[in-house]
């Protein structure tokens, strides 16, 4: 009250009210029910799994530098590519955007204090970690060599690797996914702020709604399938092994019934991130908002009807192949619509090229190639030739890495200031984005050519004429590796040393930007009331110009 004492500014400020400062002990993290802290728990754990999966990828590329198997025995190589797939698919890609950014942002975007079931949310993380630890135990006790697809009867009868432990790990992690889906659906239905109608929701929320539906409806099927493999392996009950009276193709139907929609569990949230970033950095409402929102639902529904396109050469009826191929062509349409709408959003925008926008522009290109090469694989006669070759490896890496990981990094660079309250070094971040883009294309583009030449996937040794393209791919992988390491370093650095930011560093729309960075423990001091459409950038632009 007096002006005579010069206050020490740091001590005089009120105690920081944010979720990070709410507690520093281990217990405050491990027993938290705050969605933002749980999101950070996920962020830390999937970063570990990503590094593990990345290490295995590096080993694969090193081995394939030469045609001979000179780095490992085949037994080891098969375990390396299997563990790469298992960690990347089940423990990084599936949880990546939903579990980290979905968890962190959904309540903020909806103007809620937390998700609908905070304790269930924490349980999800524990289930996920239990699954992840089991997979790591499997890895340390010899690993699995079935490929991440666990095809029977190899997985159920013939292999002597750690199928059971891994299967139980994936099974348990599946429940984390189901519970997260249930939580998101309930949150979106019941926790929207006053005035926040369905068609005022950010497209990120729409994408997560569609994703959650797939998680809840699809994951139980893969859980049961994996359980059946375990039962056949343990008790020799004939389910999938014809020697016991089972049907090996039945496994593929059950597995892909989930694992194809799982592709959309990964890519839909990435599309949601895309819409947020594009609208912010063009200062525009997304062109065709409703179409983009509903196309997410269309993808979620159609995605359940195309699993048989993984089985055109499997011995499934060729007439089933016809139906699945036609439906596959149709599921490509809603994705194409989204790409056109993002492009149209650039038109007459006011575009700024901050790091998140660089990732968004990269995404448009990479996802276009990833999506269109999917049409190659959906075209029956062409699939016969390129199925199970490096062509498909390249295709799904364009979608999974070029699409999902690119947008995961985009999201990380967009919302990091909100999550941590500090900015990363932006120049370095742009360098990293360029490295990722160049390294990625150099790694995976040659694999399309390799695939059409006929190099089968999962080959430890290969004919010499394939070496040139493999060397290019390995060279690209090392650039890509640097591109991934760089953000890991500067983001960690920025936690302590980054420049502090205000609540809305990008001048973006959306309720998450109206609260402080990092947000307070309960997100908002007053319940927000929504009176505008999503992406109401017109007012901000009127102020700027």
């Amino acid at each position: 009250m007096t002006t005579t004492t010069a206050p020490l500014p740091l001590q005089a400020e009120p105690r920081e009210d944010n979720y990070v400062a709410a507690g520093y002990g281990l217990k405050s993290w491990l027993l938290t029910v705050d969605h933002k802290r749980i999101a950070l728990l996920y962020l830390m754990s999937i970063t570990v799994f990503f590094c593990l999966g990345g290490l295995f990828a590096l080993l694969i590329r090193l081995e394939l530098l030469t045609p001979q198997g000179d780095l490992f025995e085949s037994e080891i190589y098969n375990r390396v590519f299997t563990m790469h797939g298992v960690f990347m698919v089940f423990f990084f890609l599936i949880p990546s955007i939903p579990a980290v950014f979905g968890n962190f942002l959904l309540p903020l975007m909806l103007g809620a204090r937390d998700v609908a079931f905070p304790k269930l949310n924490l349980l999800s993380w524990y289930l996920f970690m239990t699954g992840g630890l089991l997979a790591m135990i499997a890895m340390m006790t010899g690993g699995v060599d079935t490929g991440w697809t666990f095809y029977t009867p190899y997985s159920s009868t013939y292999t002597n690797s750690q199928v059971l432990v891994t299967a139980v790990g994936v099974f348990i992690a599946g429940f984390a996914s189901i519970l997260t889906g249930v939580n998101f659906i309930a949150t979106i239905h019941k926790m929207r702020a006053p005035g926040l109608t369905w068609f005022r929701m950010p497209l990120f929320v729409w994408a997560h709604y569609a994703t959650s539906l797939i998680m809840v409806l699809g994951t139980p099927v893969v859980a049961v399938t994996i359980l059946l493999v375990a039962i056949e392996r343990l008790f020799h009950v004939g389910i999938f092994d014809p020697a016991l009276g089972g049907d090996p193709i039945l496994f593929q139907h059950l597995f892909w019934f989930y694992s194809h929609p799982a592709v959309y569990i990964m890519i839909l949230p990435a599309m949601g991130v895309m819409s947020e970033i594009v609208s912010c950095f063009t200062r525009k409402r997304i062109f065709g908002y409703k179409v983009v929102a509903l196309s997410s639902l269309a993808i979620a529904v159609l995605g359940f009807l195309v699993w048989g396109h993984h089985m055109f050469v499997s011995g499934q009826s060729i007439y089933a192949g016809l139906v699945f191929s036609l439906l596959t062509m149709l599921v490509a349409v809603p994705s194409a619509i989204k790409v056109f709408n993002w492009l149209a959003t650039l038109y007459r925008g006011s575009i700024k090229f901050d790091t998140p926008m660089l990732y968004a522009l990269a995404f448009i290109g990479l996802f276009t190639i990833g999506g269109l090469t999917g049409v190659f694989l959906g075209a029956l006669a062409l699939d016969v030739h390129v199925h199970d070759t490096y062509f498909i490896v390249a295709h799904f890496h364009y979608v999974m890495v070029g699409g999902v990981v690119t947008m995961y990094l985009g999201a990380l660079h967009f919302w990091w200031p909100k999550m941590i309250g500090r900015m990363y070094p932006t120049f370095l971040a742009k360098v990293a984005a360029a490295l990722v883009f160049i390294g990625f294309n150099l790694t995976f583009f040659p694999q399309f050519l390799l695939g059409y030449l006929g190099m089968p996937r999962r080959y430890h040794v290969y004919p010499e004429e394939f070496q040139v393209l493999n060397v290019l791919s390995t060279a690209g992988a090392s650039v890509l590796g640097f591109g991934f390491l760089l953000p890991l370093c500067y983001l960690l650095w920025s936690i302590k040393y980054g420049k502090k930011v205000e609540s809305n560093p990008w001048d973006a729309c959306g309720l998450e930007w109206t609260t402080t960075s990092p947000p307070p423990k309960h997100n908002f001091h007053d319940v927000p009331v929504v009176e505008e459409e999503a992406y109401d950038y017109a007012k901000r632009e009127a102020l700027r110009v």
Binding site: N78, Y151, P153, Y154, T157, T159, D241, P242, D247, P248, I249, T282, K284, R285, F287, Y289, K290, V291, F312, V313, L322, S325, L326, V333, I337, V339, N341, A344, L346, Y347, R348, S350, I351, K352, I364, T368, I369, L372, T373, V375, F376, A379, L380, A381, V384, H385, D388, Y452, L453, G454, P456, R457, H460, Y462, E464, E465, Q467, Y537, E541, R544
Partner: protein, 316 residues
């Protein structure tokens, strides 16, 4: 490492070039679309970069535009579907006059039997210009018989006959790969397909150790396993007479019908109670465990040979 380097595989089968046309069409489509989108991104990014004196214009969307750009890919993709589907049906429905080979996959080798009974492992010699059908089965896990130069592959599944056919159009030696991951030595389950001039092929066949004709071997088995006791018209007949039956439709006791083909023959030997022919009692015992895949193939070859044999020859 630059020797033999190329960006395009050999095309050595009757439909290889047609798959390539489809591929090149799709490559062109992808290149045009990607380049178009790249140009649009670059142009829009430069043209509408942020300036202090210009605000973004809000555009709500446009239904006609949405319909327009949904229809273009939809029509294009459905057209591609039809093109590819037509070719796919040709690939998996063999013409009538094929030379028939049997392929058995096992960890980690390919066992191949020629129509005339010669056997080889991990190599397949075939004459150029003749349609060849492979009937395939696995003894253990799933494999896949893939010949990139022919643009053909199909899974080789335990307990199920699958088939593929091709007509080689160019003499040469081509890669044979197992394309379905099958365990430790998956990448060593490889071999070659050697396409020869028909005369050379005949000469090669002649130079092979004389092996038993599969039909003859099947006939011997048919007698030794006592199949002949019941499957022969006569007073002891308890099962269907097999003359003139292969390739026909069989009426079943449960009212349905089934095509008398390789798969039906195999099922009837191993699981006789699975499909009971109408008018017969389910009395046949299973031969599961008593016959190898090779012996089943010989029995099928024999039953097949009976298709053109009306049974008159029995009298002699």
């Amino acid at each position: 490492m630059f020797e033999d380097f190329s960006l395009f595989p050999d095309a050595a089968s009757s439909y290889a070039s047609r798959v390539d046309s489809l591929y090149l069409f799709l490559c062109t489509m992808t290149a045009v679309a990607s380049f178009g989108i790249l140009c649009a991104v670059v142009f829009l990014s430069v043209r509408y970069r942020r300036r202090a004196d210009r605000a973004a214009e809000q555009l709500e969307g446009s239904l006609p535009l949405e319909i327009f750009w949904s229809a273009i890919p939809a029509v294009l993709f459905v057209g591609i579907f039809a093109w590819a589907a037509k070719l796919y049906l040709e690939m998996y429905r063999e013409p009538a006059d094929c030379m028939e080979f049997y392929v058995t996959g096992k960890q980690w080798m390919w066992k191949i039997q020629h129509p005339t009974g010669q056997r080889e492992i991990n190599t397949l010699h075939i004459p150029v210009g003749r349609p060849v059908k492979l009937t395939m089965i696995s003894e253990d896990v799933i494999h896949d018989f893939y010949v990139p130069a022919f643009r053909i592959k199909r899974d080789v599944v335990p307990g199920l006959y699958t088939s593929e056919w091709f007509e080689a159009t160019k003499v040469g030696t081509y890669h044979l790969f197992c394309a379905e991951y099958c365990g430790t030595k998956h990448s060593e389950m490889i071999g070659s397909v050697i396409v020869m001039e028909p005369a050379e092929y005949e000469a090669w066949l002649g130079g092979q150790p004389a092996s038993q004709d599969p039909v003859e071997a099947g006939r011997v088995l048919f007698e030794n396993l006592r199949c002949v006791t019941c499957h022969d018209a006569g007073k002891n007949q308890r099962g269907p007479d097999l003359h003139g039956r292969f390739g026909e439709t069989v009426g079943l006791a449960n009212g349905t019908t089934v095509l008398f083909d390789e798969a039906y023959t195999r099922t009837s030997i191993l699981e006789p109670k699975h499909d009971i022919a109408v008018g017969f009692e389910p009395v046949m015992p299973t031969y599961e465990g008593q016959v190898t895949e090779t012996q089943i193939q010989q029995l099928i070859a024999y039953v097949k040979s009976l298709a053109t044999d009306t049974g008159e020859g029995q009298q002699k």
